[in-house]
Symmetry: D2
Subunit: 150 residues, 4 copies
């Protein structure tokens, strides 16, 4: 019943970005942490798929009112019904976040996380002061686990 | 990775009410469902304690911005930061709800659940049209699992 | 720039209930208070219509993401995008609430208001401990303005 | 009862930034629009002060549960109790937004607004693709009123 570390994966993109997200999900699960994400498709689904492949546990904080909208790799769908307002819940629930690619939704999550003083590691994501740039998936996960929050 | 049933336990009280909540938590875990609750003390903690005693998994949807506020029997703390606004997330995330005792916060959850057409089973709780009254913990859990939603 | 008193009108129903809500809205505006409601149809629209007929100001706290969903009598539409989660915002924003008729959504608002220690006056609404029953619209508004919060 | 245009002012800073925010508030009120902001101090207060100096109406979407936390220039305090989650409500309620200076909270609002396809005009703020840079307060307000949303 000791609390597991919870790592958030945020982002958006395709191709190489999705493969990076899946690797990040695998590495998070290998280290025994919970993975939290937005529960939908793209980077969120790829990361959850990676985590499940390593036997991890995945939490999806959904914008919708119905948990049926979650991707098939989510163990615990949380149906907030708050739309984009759920982004702040993902950030609050995570101990640290890894951003993989990403568009404006990801930017809102990066901004919230930095405001709350949480570690944000970035892989080819927004270039925002405070985001720790990682060269690859291994470094991203390593730094998300070991970087002290600001 | 098939989705588990998710049963919400809501309520408030002491003594006999807490013992009932713990039994309800045990019975939910025995049937292999996830337990979702508000993550704090009282009925929420007793139910989570019961579920953990049977090896179940517990989700706490917290009002606070920090997950450290959750009780020690919560596996997955979700820090919403939405205060009482989190009650609606508990209800949306659950497939069915069991109310054990309860005060005004519980009443708000019963109201949301009935509005959303979800099954609400009651054990010594508010007498509201639509709540299914159960005589004991076994009947409460049985009906939460088997009653079709309205 | 002194803060005006803000009175919330909640409820649901038709015929006589809508006429009562409109009268309640008129009386609130006559006393110089802001009217806050859920911004949609039925009791919310009738109360806002009454307030506008007396030159009052109306605020609609909407469940939707778009303010275009508000009724035509709302001066200030607040688009929360939080669905039923917006009920808690109506309650927090109001100094006191008047419930006219009402179904489960109204019950959730009554429950939140009583939990927060706010005055709730009822006109043919849910019979919940803590709600002040008023015999008519005049008494309802009078008590909403003058009853000290618990 | 025709809906007024609603312009959001977001940002943070001091000195010259506050003076710019006050001017922006004045110009918004002069054009007959409602001003919506986060209701607290700094840029939010300066913009509301400017709007009131021109007889405008100001709405403050507060993070707190109590409306007493709003600044003295807010006519209509909305107490969300959602913490930073209220940022998304400011953005949804505004037709267009003007960012003056700003830190991470402002960045989250810019991100939400661009995601929702709303016009964001910036005065010495984050350099994010999609933000329209204005050279001065007059141009900022002009473009917030006249730029078509994307």
């Amino acid at each position: 019943m000791g609390k597991q570390k919870i790592i958030g994966v945020i982002g958006a993109g395709d191709g190489k970005t999705l493969r990076a997200a899946e690797t990040v999900g695998r590495l998070i699960a290998k280290r025994g942490a919970l993975l939290v994400c937005g529960g939908l498709g793209g980077v969120m689904e790829a990361a959850a798929k990676g985590a499940k492949a390593e036997g991890g546990t995945t939490v999806g904080i959904l914008p919708q009112t119905e948990k049926e909208s979650s991707n098939p790799y989510i163990d615990i769908p949380v149906a907030t019904g708050f739309g984009e307002g759920r982004n702040v819940v993902i950030v609050r629930t995570a101990d640290a976040l890894i951003a993989v690619g990403g568009e404006y939704g990801t930017l809102s999550e990066i901004a919230f996380a930095l405001k709350m003083g949480k570690t944000v590691v970035g892989l080819n994501t927004w270039d925002i002061k405070g985001v720790i740039k990682a060269a690859n998936e291994e470094e991203a996960v390593e730094r998300a686990f070991n970087e002290p929050a600001s």
